[in-house]
Structure formats: C-alpha cells, structure tokens
C-alpha cells in the first residue's frame, strides 16, 4: 500500500489518498488524473487497465485501486 500511495502522491500531491474514499464520486480526481494513474500502474506494476475498468468502484480509494491491481496481476 505504501508504494501505491507514493505513486499516487507523485500524480496528485494535494490529495490525501490514504484517507479519501470517494475520489471519483466527489470528483476529487478528474479524467486527466485517471490517465496519469493508469499509465503509472502500467509502469510500476505491469498491469494494463482497460477503459472498461475505469469505473468508480475501482478508483474511489487507494484500497480499491490496490484490489484492482492485484486482480489484474492474476
């Protein structure tokens, strides 16, 4: 989780990724952030997030993102 928080923090240093649980629903992240995050996941974790995966359930919190990364790694 710490590594993930570091990756996310590089993209949006002004967001508390450890505490937020409605990153998409509360419009804290915009579509530009999403592209940067997906690209970072590609580079750091070697997972390919598809457009169909870009749903709030997968991106509302760092925890949800980690669960998605682990799912995609399998």
């Amino acid at each position: 989780m710490e590594e993930l928080l570091k990756v996310l923090g590089e993209i949006r240093p002004d967001v508390d990724f450890a505490g937020e649980t409605a990153l998409i629903d509360d419009q804290i992240l915009d579509s530009f952030d999403m592209i940067a995050i997906v690209s970072a996941f590609d580079e750091h974790y070697g997972v390919t997030v598809k457009p169909a995966d870009l749903v709030p359930e997968n991106f509302n919190s760092a925890e949800a993102m980690l669960a998605m990364i682990n799912r995609l790694k399998k």
Binding site: I11, S31, F32, M34, I35, E43
Partner: protein, 492 residues
C-alpha cells in the same frame, strides 16, 4: 411535432398517465408496455417512416448484445459484430446529419431524437460487449429504453443500467413525486418561455448583421444575452422533459448542474450537457487516451520530461479530439470546430500550467477566490460562445477584435438601434425577473438545498402565490415572443 406546452401534448400526456397508473391495478407486471406504446405513438407523431431507423438500430443492437453473451461465439466474431453494428449506427447518423444531399434527395428531415438514441444505443452496445452490462431481457424492453418519449426531443443521453430498473417495475401513483415532477416541468416552462424566448431575437438580429464597424459593447451585450438564452433554452427544455418523466416516477440522467457557477472550464464541462460529456469521456476519451500508441507516448514523455508533461500532453491531445467531435456533433460547420478546439485547447493548456498555479500562493478556499474563479470561468466560456453564437468564423474574429479595440460603451444606446431588434423594454424586464428566480434557485441548489422538497414543506398559500407569479410571468411573455418556440437542441 406538438410543442411541449400545447394542448395536444398535454392531452396525450394525461391519457398516458391515466393508462399507466390504471395498468398498475390491472396488470402490474406489464405496466411498462403502456410506456412503450405511448413512446411509439409519440414517435410516429413525428413521422411514420422515421420509425424504420429506430427499429433498425434497436434490432441490430439488441441482437448483437445477445451474440456477445453466447459462449460459443469466438472473440473475433464478437468484435466483428460490434464493429459492424457500430458502423450501422454512425452510418445512419452521418447520412442524416452530415449529408444535405441525402436529405434533399429523400425529402426527409433528421429523425426525431436520432443523435440521442444513437448515443444511447452505442453505450449499450459497447457496455454489453465489454461485459459491463447484461443484455436486455427482450427486444421490446430495449426498444422502450431507446424510444422513451421524454428523452427524444433533446436528450439527456440515458444509460440502460440506470433506466431499466426504473422502467420494468410496477409503480403506484405517488402524489409527492408527481408534484415534484410538475414543479420541474413548470420551472422549465419559466426558463424557456419567460427567458429564452424573450431574448432569442436579440442574438439573431445582432449576429446576422456583423460588419467591421460593429461596436464591442453591442457584441458583448449579444454574447451575454446568448449565454443566458442558450442556457435557459436547453436546460429549460431538459427540465420540462425531466419533469414529464418524473410524472411517471422515472428519473433520467441529470444534464445540468449550475454550469455558470463553475470554477474552471473543465468544471464547466462537468456541469453542462453532463450526459454528453460522460458519454464522450467513457466511449471516446478513455479509449483514445489509453490506446497502445498513446500509452507508449505517455511513458516516453514521463522518462524524458517527467510527470507533468506525461500527464498533460496525451490526455490534453485526447481531450482536444473529444472537443473536436463535440463540435462536429453540433454541426459540420467551421465555427463549431473552432469552438470545440478552443475548449479542448484551453483545458489542455490549463492542465499544463497546473504546477505554476500551485506555486503561486493563492488562497484555496474562501468566497473571494471562489468568486474570482467563477467570474474568470464565465469570461472564458463566453469567449467560446463567440464561435458558437456567430455562425461565420470571420465574423467571430471581427467581433472578438472589436470587443477589445472598439468597445464604444458610451455609444451603446445609439449603436444597438442599428440592429432593429424587434423587442420592447417589456421583453427584457420579463426575462430579468425570471432570470432572478433562476439565479436564486441555482444558488440554493449550489449550496446543496433540495429546492423542490423545501417548497413542498412551505405553507400551501405561499406555494400558490409563487406558482401564480411564475405562471403570470409566462403568460405575459407569450405575446412578446418574436420568434417561434422551437428548442435549440432539438433535431440533433
């Protein structure tokens, strides 16, 4: 097509409502069939031959969604079916929207709601293809989703997943919801007829007579009037159809969220024509920005230039492509394309400059900074309207130039007479009073107040006075309307 306030339409609506709520007692499981029959009847009202296109799109898309669910069909064949049906959608849309030759040859006009049901159908097609949405239970249910009559006039672009659970359950009459639906319909009527129709001719008279001498102050007046006319026309129409849909207890996707309170252009586009923006984001922006070449470009930029450029450039480029398409959707005219590119470019440049904004030590919260950002956004949006309201790009640039070089504020009273606007002072007074109501309601909504729920809790006398005042404004407005009452976003 009957007007949304005409006696014909209101009688049709009353008949459908009676049948719908009576059906709940007689055959609750099939209550939705009333909605389908009403929608098809409404569609044929606009012209029988056009139903062919609606049926063709529905049948192809429905069949495709079931092929995607069949285990025996290979991934390659599923992709072929998806691409084929996608092409069919855009072939029909393109034929009507972009080939005047076809329309002249056939004598047909753009079928009612073509853009809106095409976009809805494409979202269903792609969601079922990607496994995000289960296929519809029957063709007739899918046909209702595409033909639901309130959405045909000017959207919103609904999603099957959000609409299906509402359509296909039995529903008892709920007087509270019904009154809320009526309120929303009435609010839309106020916006459309007491504001938009009071201002329309001002815009058309000024911007069809542009020459090199046009005063900047007249241009700014015309653009400001346009910004209110367009908002009240489009959002008023949406309020009316949302209200109609809510009379049946069915809530459609929101299309507006106080757009002129936005704090950036990107924020504005998350509040204006929301359902189109969401559609473009899901089905154009993300697939394009996450395509293989774009992913490679992003990673290359990150290694060479760091995080900020790798974030802003690919997403910015995809965003410009989206706005180019949004411009093209408005029409195959140069001014729409320039308008689309302007919006895409401003958002991309703004994202590139984000680190700079962070370095400048501006306060993040507070009424002052919020007002500053809102006003700045309003000005940027209005610069964009120069390429939307004015249909000749050369004229747009003349107007933009004269805004800064030939403002002539002191000569406004004389200069405005040149354009022979067929309005009296009463037009602007009615529009101003109605706009004040819209402003107060918007301000409350921006603060999270459920205005309709709040109104229902007020004493009946107060509510009655308010309704009568609004109705009076609308009735006073009708004799002053210089142009017929069609909606700007109909026929898309």
């Amino acid at each position: 097509m009957p007007e949304l306030y005409s006696m014909q339409f209101l009688l049709f609506l009353a008949a459908v409502l009676i049948c719908y709520y009576a059906a709940e007692k007689l055959f609750p499981r099939f209550q939705w069939v009333i909605l389908l029959c009403a929608s098809l009847f409404f569609y044929t009202w606009a012209g029988l031959p056009y139903v062919v296109f609606l049926l063709a799109v529905s049948a192809a898309c429905y069949r495709a969604s079931h092929i995607f669910a069949e285990p025996g069909v290979s991934a390659e064949n599923k992709k072929r079916v998806m691409v084929g049906v996608l092409l069919l959608h855009f072939l029909i849309l393109g034929l009507f929207k972009y080939t005047g030759l076809f329309r002249r040859w056939s004598g047909w006009v753009i079928p009612l709601g073509l853009s809106y049901y095409t976009f809805q159908s494409v979202s269903y097609l792609l969601d079922t293809y990607n496994g995000k949405q289960e296929a519809a239970g029957s063709f007739w249910k899918y046909l209702l989703f595409l033909s639901w009559f309130p959405q045909l006039l000017q959207g919103p672009i609904n999603r099957f997943g959000a609409m299906a659970p509402q359509f296909f359950r039995s529903r008892k009459f709920d007087s509270r919801l019904f009154r809320k639906g009526l309120m929303r319909y009435g609010y839309g009527v106020l916006k459309k007829y007491a504001v938009a129709n009071m201002l329309a001719a001002t815009v058309s008279h000024i911007f069809t007579q542009v020459d090199g001498d046009i005063s900047g102050c007249v241009v700014v007046f015309g653009i400001l009037v346009y910004s209110f006319q367009q908002y009240t026309d489009f959002s008023g129409g949406i309020d009316m159809v949302m209200g109609v849909s809510e009379l049946f207890g069915i809530e459609m996707s929101e299309n507006f969220r106080q757009p002129y309170f936005a704090v950036s252009l990107a924020d504005f586009w998350r509040r204006w024509h929301i359902s189109l923006g969401a559609w473009m984001k899901d089905y154009v922006f993300y697939p394009l920005a996450l395509s293989k070449p774009m992913r490679k470009w992003t990673q290359h930029l990150r290694r060479k230039f760091g995080m900020q450029w790798s974030r802003s450039l690919p997403a910015g480029a995809a965003n410009i492509a989206v706005f180019f398409l949004v411009g093209l959707w408005h029409g195959a005219d140069l001014h729409f394309l320039v308008w689309g590119l302007f919006n895409g470019l401003v958002i991309a440049v703004s994202d590139c400059m984000a680190p700079l904004y962070r370095k400048v030590n501006l306060p993040k919260k507070g009424a002052g900074i919020r007002l500053f950002r809102t006003l700045r956004t309003f000005i940027i949006v209005n610069i964009g309207w120069y390429f939307d309201a004015i249909t000749d790009v050369r004229d747009s640039f003349i107007c933009l130039r004269n805004t800064f070089t030939r403002f002539r504020a002191s000569a406004f009273a004389g200069d405005i007479l040149i354009y022979q606007i067929p309005y009296r002072r009463e037009n602007y007074m009615i529009a101003a009073v109605a706009l004040l109501i819209v402003f107060v309601v918007s301000l409350l909504q921006e603060r999270g107040v459920d205005v309709r729920e709040g109104l229902l809790k007020k004493p009946a006398v107060l509510r009655l006075c308010l309704y009568l005042f609004c109705a009076l404004l609308v009735l006073m407005a009708f004799p002053f309307a210089a142009e017929a009452g069609g909606f700007m976003y109909a026929n898309f």
